[in-house]
């Protein structure tokens, strides 16, 4: 029986090929554009204000004289507010996560409700947290006014759901066999959790917390409502002190149409990006370090 020569060449019709090609091109362009945008933004900022970058910017305080204007008060304000917010949110968040994962009865109405609650809180717009702050903390029952303390609580509430979710995942990632092994050796539930689960979950929690904190660093909307937009020329002096934060200092300069202030705003943006970059980098390095230590 004679066999004809078989060809395995593509018999995909032209229009399919065109669609394939167009689609692949579109995908690649999207990815490249996303990457390029990040570089472009930094390029434009640097173009605008790169010459201004120096340690003076960090040393000086805001002033109407551009030659002596700087960001010290807002950088310190950010550190104070975010610092206290972390002090508040991390312990509460970690304890909540531990409780939900280890000690609460699984699958009852109460825990399900709480989980739903946390999921929803994670999606609430940042401004709304500012509204609570305004209604209850800065004014209303607590009436702490427009202070570092109020801001710290508000920001803390904002990152609390994120920390809870991340810590829960870190706890869940601990293999149940660790715990079961400990229990089989006679330890109590609490001992097993304390000695095994918590230490294993620390790296994931720490990394996640740093990321949550860096997010808090970049927030602007909620603290707009808490008086952080004022022209503050001093570093915070305590929880009851007035303050401003870096994102809002940038915002303030940007709202001014004079060109010198626009340059300052760009410079401030570069500083903010640098701080965030440093925080995220340390989170990644921390994660890699702990992973490597664990695998030794």
């Amino acid at each position: 029986m004679a066999t004809t020569s078989t060809s395995l060449e593509s018999r995909v019709s032209i229009d399919r090929r065109i669609k394939d090609f167009t689609f692949t091109t579109f995908l690649s362009i999207s990815i490249v554009a996303s990457l390029a945008f990040i570089f472009y933004i930094i390029y434009r900022l640097y173009n605008n204000a790169g010459y201004l970058l120096s340690w003076d910017l960090v040393r000086f305080f805001p002033s109407y004289d551009i030659d002596t204007a700087g960001f010290q008060s807002s950088i310190m304000g950010s550190i104070w507010v975010v610092g206290f917010a972390t002090l508040f949110a991390v312990p509460v968040g970690v304890m909540t996560a531990l409780y939900l994962e280890e000690f609460a009865g699984k699958r009852n109405r109460f825990t399900a409700l709480i989980e739903l609650n946390i999921q929803n809180l994670a999606g609430v717009p940042a401004v709304v947290f500012g509204l609570i702050g305004l209604a209850f903390i800065a004014r209303g029952p607590l009436s702490w006014g427009f202070t570092v303390g109020s801001a710290a609580i508000v920001l803390g509430m904002l990152i609390l759901p994120v920390i809870i979710i991340i810590t829960r995942e870190a706890i869940r990632a601990v293999p149940p066999s660790y715990k079961e092994g400990a229990l089989a050796l006679g330890s109590t539930h609490w001992q097993a959790v304390n000695k095994l689960v918590i230490p294993s979950a620390i790296p994931g929690t720490a990394t996640g917390s740093i990321l949550a904190v860096s997010r808090a660093m970049g927030e602007s909307a909620p603290l707009l409502l808490l008086g952080a937009l004022s022209f503050v020329t001093f570093n915070p002096t305590g929880l009851d002190s007035g303050f401003t934060i870096l994102p809002l200092a940038i915002f303030k300069y940007a709202s001014d149409s004079r060109e010198e202030y626009q340059v300052l705003a760009s410079a401030g943006s570069l500083i903010l990006l640098a701080i965030l970059f440093a925080m995220n980098l340390s989170a990644i390095l921390l994660r890699d370090y702990t992973l490597r230590k664990r695998n030794v």
Partner: protein, 281 residues
């Protein structure tokens, strides 16, 4: 430890408590006015027509979605079906970086670069000024691209390989497998991504405030400045409205609307995610 958990409950209660009473009090006063078309609560005489806020929010969010959906989905499909393992390792962090850009900086870019150089020059309708809705829409779109990309990628990557192999075994090309089978199978996850991104765009304050301005113009032309619900709250919150006045209470009224809408959207979005997880895990 259980008491720590209660704090999170307290927070929710707090939100609701802060918003509702003032809202009702205010609504009592101004119910009929809400349907007007002029929004000027902080002026005297105050007017409370919410239409401009609705249109402003709607237009900006719409533009944001139009920008973000194609690019976000493209990134997600790229990651789940086109990228090699190494490419994925590079691209995922890039999207994380994009997600980490603070809204102030995006707003700055919109104000200094997009509005003057792009919109003012090329927008065909009307006379765009320093503040435009389309600029805010563009930057908000960039803000939410990573949300769509990562949630959709999670969904699409969870579609079992066997399903892809079956489609390939029928002589389909990579594009056909990705678009006709994978997206179809992961659809509830993709929908979740879109809903969550929409909610995020809806609640974005800083970008709208910096790029679209603070003038609640009722218009259908995105080249005009506009005010969204969220940017109104930001704007009014800076100023010094007297506590307890109607003007002050409007902040909470709008806040209630904002909170309610995003709450519903988030519940919906999370529902879709659980539906998706049940199917494939």
């Amino acid at each position: 430890m259980a008491s720590a958990t209660l704090i999170s409950v307290l927070v929710t209660v707090g939100i609701v408590l802060s918003l509702l009473p003032t809202t009702f009090r205010l609504l009592g006063e101004i119910t009929t006015q809400v349907f007007g078309t002029v929004w000027a609560p902080l002026f005297t005489p105050s007017q409370y027509g919410m239409a401009p806020l609705f249109t402003g929010t709607f237009i900006i969010v719409l533009i944001a979605m139009v920008i973000a959906i194609p690019i976000g989905l493209a990134a997600a499909i790229f990651l789940s079906d086109y990228a090699t393992f190494n490419l994925r390792r590079i691209v995922k962090p890039i999207l994380e970086i994009l997600a980490g850009i603070p809204t102030v900086v995006l707003g700055l870019f919109g104000l200094y670069v997009v509005n003057p150089e792009l919109v003012e020059k090329y927008w065909p309708i009307g006379e765009p000024l320093a503040y435009t809705a389309v600029g805010a829409g563009l930057m908000t779109g960039i803000l939410i691209i990573p949300i769509i990309a990562s949630v959709a990628d999670d969904a699409l990557s969870s579609v079992p390989r066997a399903m892809r192999e079956a489609a390939y075994a029928l002589g389909a090309t990579r594009r056909e497998v990705a678009t006709k089978v994978v997206v179809n199978a992961g659809l509830s996850g993709v929908v979740a991504a879109l809903i969550l991104a929409f909610a995020r765009a809806f609640g974005e304050t800083t970008i709208a405030l910096m790029v679209a301005g603070s003038y609640p113009k009722l218009s259908a032309n995105p080249g005009d400045p506009m005010q969204t619900m969220a940017s109104f709250i930001g704007f009014a919150g800076i100023g010094d409205a007297e506590v307890g006045s109607s003007a002050y209470n409007t902040i909470f009224l709008v806040g209630t609307v904002l909170f309610t809408v995003t709450l519903i959207l988030n519940i919906l979005g999370n529902r879709f995610i659980s539906r998706f997880r049940e199917a494939y895990e």
